[in-house]
């Protein structure tokens, strides 16, 4: 079963795994909270891409509706998260997670 001519679901599985791993790498390697946030968005998008591929494979609309809801939740998450980051910056004058270590044991 090919999703588009010459491309099967396995290709999309691999592409999504690579994009997800790059997002995970970004969360681990970066210290700037905004960049870490962007990497989380990247991981969400890798999952969305795979959901759409599976919906195409099974001719099922529900997965696309789920992607739609994930986008709505991501928008809400970014709005609140960036507001929190602004507040942190106003109080601590930095968004560097190495400096914000009060909760570290």
């Amino acid at each position: 079963m090919e999703i588009i001519p010459g491309i099967t679901i396995n290709h999309y599985l691999i592409v999504s795994s690579i994009l997800f791993s790059i997002g995970a790498l970004g969360v681990m390697i970066r210290r700037n909270a905004i960049i870490m946030f962007m990497c989380i968005e990247l991981m969400l998008n890798a999952v969305n891409l795979l959901l759409v591929a599976f919906s195409k494979q099974w001719s099922d609309t529900s997965a696309q509706v789920l992607v739609f809801f994930i986008m709505a939740v991501a928008a809400a998450e970014v709005a609140v998260g960036l507001a929190i980051l602004m507040m942190i910056y106003r109080n601590a004058r930095t968004t560097d997670t190495e400096v914000l270590n009060k909760l570290k044991w």
Binding site: I35, M38, E41, V52, A76, A83
Partner: protein, 168 residues
């Protein structure tokens, strides 16, 4: 190879290269711009899979709203140059190794799994707005309404959090 195969590989290449650029570049603004390129490539994937509505919504929500929000915050915080403390090399190597292991594990697990399911009745227009709207407003009507409440709550929360503290 058919033209859509070439388009797939091109979009994949662009998405992965710009995603790596998001992680590796030092300048936060370049990071945001690379992420926008990644999102456009993913939207291209959606169009390629005949999910037009999701492709349009993806461009509007991510490239249009979310990334502009990120750029705006970076502008307000004035993070245009590198703003991070440097970590030691050991930490970098450990992070790269663990991300690589994550990728190898996922790809290995997927390679062993047989997911070549029987295709259902091939309905190529599932991505169109008409089909999606029917499902969204019949089966998923309650989640749709709850999503609107969630967005309202997020809006109120964002306004409250970013407001200046009132001293009492």
């Amino acid at each position: 190879m058919s033209p859509s195969t070439y388009v797939f590989w091109f979009l994949t290449f662009v998405a992965i290269i710009s995603a790596l650029n998001v992680v590796l570049t030092k300048n936060a603004v370049y990071s945001v711009l690379s992420l926008i390129v990644t999102f456009f490539a993913i939207a291209g994937h959606y169009f390629l899979m005949n999910a037009q509505f999701l492709g349009i919504v993806h461009i509007m929500v991510y490239a249009g709203a979310i990334m502009v929000l990120f750029l705006y915050v970076i502008m307000m915080l004035n993070l245009n140059e590198t703003f991070e403390t440097n970590k030691d090399t050991f930490f970098h190597i450990a992070a790269v190794v663990s991300a690589g292991l994550l990728m190898v594990t996922m790809i290995g697990a997927f390679a062993k799994t047989d997911i070549q399911m029987q295709a259902m009745a091939d309905n190529s227009n599932i991505g169109y707005l008409e089909e999606l709207g029917k499902v969204l407003f019949n089966e998923f009507l309650l989640p749709f309404e709850i999503a609107s409440v969630l967005l309202l709550a997020a809006m109120v929360g964002a306004v409250y959090l970013s407001k200046k503290e009132i001293k009492d």
